[in-house]
Amino acid sequence: MITATPVSAEPTPHPEAKAVTNQLGMWTFLATEILFFGGLFVVYTLFRLTYPEIFRQGGQSMDFWLGTVNTAVLLTSSLFMALADRAVRANQRALLTRCLALTALLGLVFLGIKAYEYHGKFAEHLVPGPGFRGPPGSGPRLQIFYFLYFAMTGLHALHMLGGLAAVGWLWRLNAQGRLNSGRTEPVVIVGLYWHFVDCIWVFLYPLFYLAGR
């Protein structure tokens, strides 16, 4: 059945084959993430079809401009991530440093704006639970909207934190001189993740910030 032919004592896989393996791993992980966030989107759809009025009411309390600016911030961060990917393949390490810094900076700006929004919701007693005070005329059901808002944007923000940690790791690798055109994989992998988290937000934006308009 098996012929044991001595190919080489220590088979070293081709670097390109290893790259495909790594990317396949990352895409499998992203499929997992699609189900994770996607389940929430399904739940959102269900409730929006069931109680359309709470999404009108709730959507009106969202800060349209903060949401729009945040979307632009995140899209720009994705651009710099893509540029970082290009820079490392072209072996431009100084450019890579700048791109990574801008990506992380924009990620932090996004989280800052998000925190400001959360703070506003806390101050207005719009957090679901016993302390919830909806606008006049709204019923207890409005809490479902805010529950979904906090669950979905909160999970997204957690993913952003993970992404920032990953970018920090890239920064360190780069500072140690371990990223170059011969070793681009870490940038590609982190980039896939960063862009994916960006895509999630692209959907959260119309679902929450444009719901009441």
């Binding site: 109680y51 359309p52 009025e53 005329g137 019923g139 207890p140 059901r141």
Partner: protein
């Protein structure tokens, strides 16, 4: 009832059949049991035979099989599929009958709460963990829960329905035998789940009527619904003529009505329930949203009676709504 059939007799030996559904469900189960027994016997027999005959070292010939493998594979894929689809159809047919309540059944309200069953007869007689029903009469239970999910399970009727908080569901049966049949809570509901049990007392219609009359003489359910309709102030706005612009409820049940934001909704138990507890979710078109929410104000027991009352208001030209949607 199928008491004549030998299969049914066999099932009776195991467990009393006390409802019209019980025998049909037992038939399906016995059909499955028979098919399973044959399959297990054949497979176990073949395995044992092969293990003995083809044991290592036995000198039987082992020529390669002449029959193409794909023929056999196709054969048993087709055979199992057809067999399984048959059982699917059998079970689904009975299920649809069991789940769809017949028209004109007597209605008894059942409220589950940790850890007791609170039951209200049509005439308002209230009992706990006991359910009196007349035999040979269609009975529809209106079930709801005040806290967690319970499940109302009568083994002798072969019937079960989860009782879910926040919605009203129904379960119908027609008892065929007199006697006392235990019922259980069969969805885990906390510490005393195992104590949430009771007895269905099925008796002749005459004895049932006598029993019903003995109780505290609460008014009929509809009359009580009418009292509640006044007490919660519904009549102030919803009985025409009224100074307030509110939809008239007489004859509204079962109709398709236009709602704000476009579209139509059929007025059924679930919709009325929504409108009482949280008005404005899907409000009738053309009326200002001035009604207060009754969430937490009307207890479940009153709610069932209120809805029953509204349902019967001016039943003259009413269309019977599809009862399936309200299960």
């Amino acid at each position: 009832m199928n008491t004549g059939s030998p299969l049914a007799t066999l099932a009776t030996l195991l467990l009393t059949q006390a409802s019209t559904s019980a025998a049909r469900i037992d038939h399906a189960a016995l059909g499955l049991l028979a098919a399973s027994a044959v399959l297990v016997a054949v497979l176990a027999g073949l395995n044992l035979y092969f293990v003995v005959r083809y044991r290592r070292g036995s000198a039987v010939p082992r020529p390669p099989s002449a029959l193409a493998s794909w023929k056999i594979e196709t054969l048993w894929i087709v055979a199992t599929t057809i067999g399984f689809l048959g059982f699917f159809a059998w079970g689904a047919r009975i299920y649809l009958d069991v789940e769809r309540p017949p028209a004109g059944a007597d209605e008894i309200a059942v409220i589950g709460r940790q850890w007791m069953w609170d039951i209200r007869q049509p005439n308002g007689r209230r009992e706990f963990n006991e359910l009196h029903v007349p035999v040979h009469t269609d009975i529809r239970l209106l079930l709801t829960s005040e806290d967690v999910i319970h499940s109302f399970f009568v083994p002798a009727f072969r019937l079960k329905q989860d009782v879910v908080p926040g919605k009203q569901v129904s379960l119908w049966f027609n008892a065929t035998a007199e006697g006392a049949f235990p019922f259980y809570c069969s969805e885990f509901c906390g510490s005393k789940h195992a104590n949430m049990i009771g007895v269905v007392v099925a008796e002749s219609p005459e004895r049932y009527a006598r029993w019903l009359a003995q109780g505290d003489s609460a008014p009929e359910r509809l009359a009580r619904g009418g009292v509640l309709y006044q007490r919660y102030g519904c009549s102030g706005c919803h009985t025409q003529p009224s100074a307030v612009h509110a939809p008239a409820l007489a004859g509204i049940y079962g109709r398709q009505i236009p709602v704000t934001g476009g579209g139509f909704v059929r007025v059924d138990d679930a919709y009325l329930r929504d409108c009482i507890l949280t008005p404005g979710k899907v409000a009738p078109a053309g009326y200002p949203l001035i009604m207060p929410a009754f969430q937490g104000v009307v207890p479940e027991g009153d709610l069932i009676e209120l809805i029953a009352y509204i349902r019967e208001l001016d039943a003259g030209d009413r269309v019977d709504p599809n009862p399936r949607t309200s299960r």
